[in-house]
């Protein structure tokens, strides 16, 4: 319906609330992404403590390649810091010369060029002249349910598809509903009340309460079994891929569940 690089808004029809909510939760908590998990500091004379820098590093979204990396718990290596298939090493080595130097996310150099920070200009720390920062960071796949740094989405919401009906025989175009609507859904055009921005309607019913007529000349209601999804990616995965993966994960979980049920007889 609407999309750009990071955001997408689409309509889902013919499903119930439980299903869309399951899909939403799968996107938030189950779709894996890459994030820094362990950091080894060799040198840190900056004014921020090691753990604060590690925390900042962890929150930097990394481009995720789901096809060539495995979740550490699914990888057979059993090593604490992982192997080539389940972790990426990013190194950072910056020394300030005679001037102040800001360390950016772009200064991280990954051993796999595909898994690089999504944004190159996130400030990590400012170094005073003579200070230096040298570290090795281990990134791995993880899930949003373990830590928010692994969430592929920042916003992931759904709402009912709205329906606004105007009873023109009762409406005298007083414009009170147009004024009160927080989302500017309505407008008086020529000699009728028009719905100009239907999808922004939040079903708050302010327009119904503002209508001086009794019964009101306007009615808002949710369309049954229709939802508007609103998703915003952090940049680590494309939005389409997030929805796709969430659907796959949901399907896998459901088939596991039905299999378990069958085993029980």
């Amino acid at each position: 319906m609407e999309r750009d690089k990071l955001r997408v808004r689409f309509v889902v029809k013919g499903v119930n609330t439980e299903f869309v909510n399951a899909l939403r939760r799968a996107m938030l908590a189950e779709v894996p992404t890459m994030a820094i998990e362990d950091v080894v500091f060799f040198e840190n004379s900056s004014i921020l403590h090691d753990e604060i820098i590690a925390h900042r590093l962890a929150l930097i979204p990394l481009k995720t390649d789901l096809d060539s990396y495995l979740l550490p718990e699914e990888c057979g290596c059993g090593s604490e810091l992982g192997c080539n298939r389940c972790r990426v090493i990013l190194t950072l080595s910056v020394e300030a010369g005679d001037e102040r130097r800001t360390v950016y996310s772009g200064d991280l150099s990954p051993d796999d060029p595909e898994v690089k920070p999504v944004y190159d200009n996130i400030p990590i720390v400012v170094l005073a002249p003579g200070q230096s920062l040298k570290l090795e960071a281990y990134a791995r796949l993880g899930k949003g349910k373990d830590h928010a740094k692994w969430q592929p989405v920042s916003v992931c919401t759904h709402k009912y598809y709205p329906s606004v009906e105007v009873y023109s025989e009762r409406c005298d175009l007083c414009g009170k509903c147009v004024e009160i609507c927080p989302k500017r859904v309505l407008a008086v055009e020529e000699d009728s009340l028009k719905i100009v921005n239907l999808l922004n309607c939040t079903l708050c019913e302010d327009c119904v309460r503002a209508c001086p007529k009794n019964p009101p000349a306007i009615r808002v209601s949710p369309v049954p079994e229709a939802f508007i999804f609103n998703i915003e990616s952090t940049g680590s995965l494309p939005v389409d891929r997030i929805v796709e993966e969430a659907a796959k994960i949901l399907e896998k979980k459901l088939s596991e569940f039905s299999q378990k049920l069958e085993e029980l007889g």
Binding site: I47, L48, P123, A128, S154, V155
Partner: protein
């Protein structure tokens, strides 16, 4: 991030929704210092929600002040 004296540096993500905002700080600061209206700059940068907008609007970069002491130490050591 939070370091006794407040936010030393711009947080990487919005506290509320988790959207990345750290990458927008330097452009925001530069343009606001150049005299542009902060609200307009935020609109331009695509920062829509008020949770993310307050992150940039209310941030004071304390590290710039703290680091002056370290620069002085450095000078004295020489």
């Amino acid at each position: 991030m939070v370091d006794g004296v407040g936010n030393m540096m711009i947080p990487v993500r919005c506290f509320t929704c988790g959207a990345v905002i750290g990458d927008k700080w330097e452009e925001f600061l530069r343009r606001v210092r150049a005299g542009e209206h902060p609200g307009k700059v935020l609109d331009d940068l695509g920062v829509k929600r008020y949770c993310c907008r307050r992150m940039l609007l209310s941030h004071a970069d304390v590290i710039e002040d703290v680091i002056k002491f370290h620069e002085l130490f450095e000078k004295r050591a020489r």
